[in-house]
């Protein structure tokens, strides 16, 4: 039976851990916590992956919880989003291998919930309890210019995630919707609103191609959405020449409580979700179903009490082939865990 094998448990954070982010190329994990720090973790040696060390603690720049952490595509910078209403930009100084907060982005009225870099690294997005999504242009010399303030969500915005290839942004909100944002001649606008969840949407992730996305909600379901372009042969109605995103699969009846995070592996195509019910679930596409507009996903493994009795807040597949079977999870127990997905 497919299952998750625990590789390592990383201890060090002094409060609940909210999110983990894998470095784009190196075997390096960044985690952020209610203890107001980001920690960087690395295996003790190049071939022993059962023992990890905290190699760096980024602290001092935020006065409150760090809710989200994201690597730039080159892995040379880190962005941190904090409840203190600021976003920190951190850079590694290769001379003494030291991390320094080189910029602080201000503007949101209150807690920032998520930060994300676009695939080229040219844009940064942040979102906040103030209901807005901000798009920042990354300029030289650690300068960031706010290009747009998007205020169409009617509630707290929980997460932003960029398309894996294009300059398309998705945001998930306490207003139960997901919005897709695009640019037209320097103007950012909402190209589609995805309705279907019946409570807060906490998390979302695109598939490798960016043609589909998965979302996780307080309504205890996961939804898989597919993009239909204008004049699609399936006859899905589109508006104003914009693609329409439509639910093609709903995964319900699995998690017993709020689903806090979802990750769609760019390597093996599996979907991992974590919940307030203390479990990690892995979903695989059923190869027997051939209809691309109505796929079937099977829950092929469930790891109960993966962080003991605690909520699991974040899950993240390793981003490339090197360790494509690895998964990280973070929990209310202050721990970070690294798992290996074993197929048989």
């Amino acid at each position: 039976m497919p299952h998750l094998e625990l590789l390592a448990t990383l201890e060090g954070h002094q409060d609940r851990v909210w999110q983990a982010s894998w470095h784009p190329t190196k075997t390096l994990l960044a985690t952020c916590s209610g203890d107001k720090t980001v920690r960087l973790w690395k295996p003790a040696t190049h071939n022993n992956f059962t023992e990890w060390h905290c190699v760096e603690t980024l602290e001092g720049a935020h006065k409150r919880t760090i809710r989200s952490v994201a690597w730039s595509p080159t892995g040379n910078e880190l962005a941190t989003a904090s409840f203190d209403a600021t976003t920190g930009i951190w850079e590694n100084d290769p001379r003494d291998n030291d991390w320094e907060c080189v910029a602080t982005l201000e503007g949101h009225e209150n807690e920032i919930k998520s930060v994300s870099w676009s695939s080229t690294g040219a844009l940064l997005a942040t979102c906040s309890r103030d209901k807005s999504v901000w798009i920042w242009e990354v300029e030289s010399d650690n300068d960031f210019e706010c290009l747009s303030v998007l205020q169409e969500h009617t509630q707290d915005v929980k997460m932003v995630a960029w398309h894996p290839k294009l300059e398309i942004l998705a945001s998930a909100s306490y207003d139960d919707t997901i919005k897709i944002w695009k640019e037209d001649d320097d103007d950012w606008y909402c190209a589609d609103t995805l309705e279907g969840h019946t409570s807060t949407v906490w998390s979302l992730d695109f598939d490798a191609e960016g043609e589909q996305l998965v979302s996780a909600s307080d309504d205890k379901t996961l939804r898989i959405w597919k993009m239909y372009k204008p004049d699609n042969e399936q006859g899905v109605i589109t508006h104003n020449g914009e693609p329409t995103w439509k639910t093609i699969c709903t995964l319900s009846g699995y998690h017993d409580r709020c689903i806090y995070s979802v990750s769609w592996s760019k390597v093996n195509g599996c979907i991992a979700s974590v919940s307030g019910d203390n479990s990690i679930r892995i979903f695989e596409k059923d190869s027997d179903t051939t209809d691309p507009d109505s796929p079937n996903y099977k829950n092929t493994s469930t790891t109960k009490d993966a962080h003991g009795v605690y909520d699991i807040n974040g899950v993240s597949w390793y981003p490339n082939e090197t360790h494509g079977d690895w998964l990280s999870t973070v929990g209310d127990d202050g721990l970070v865990r690294i798992w290996r997905w074993v197929k048989d």
Partner: protein, 165 residues
Amino acid sequence: MSQNLINANPTIYNTKTFVRKETEAEFDDDVEDAIDSQEVFDLIRSISDPEHPLTLEQLNVTQFDHIVVDNEINKILIEFTPTIPHCSMATLIGLCIRVRLLRSLPDRFKVDIRVRKGTHQSEGAVNKQLNDKERVAAALENNHLLEVVNQCLATASLRGVEVSN
């Protein structure tokens, strides 16, 4: 003294000063005492109302009958009843109950706190906010709010025993 109370003249209920009866088993170290609704009620009954020098029990906001504890699946559901259907203190009261339980119950419990059905005009919004742990975490990093919560919790340890009128 604030003259703009949300509910200036609330009904005060006689507190049924029912106290847990001690049983033989409770003194036996070999018997595991499960946490029951009486225990949970005792934890929250003496929390003070944010605007009156009265406890949630005296205002009938918390009631023993509206607490469900399931030890098997580590789940607790608490329903509370705001004194008036437009009470703007409902979220704060719910937050106080949540914080009290966060501080006193074993970590294994998942606690859902809800307004009793039909007793508040913004029931859905209040329930959603109280059960969003990220917003609860953010609220508790607000020192002013934390101070107010701590004030309401200052009497919580009375556990219904020494309720003064």
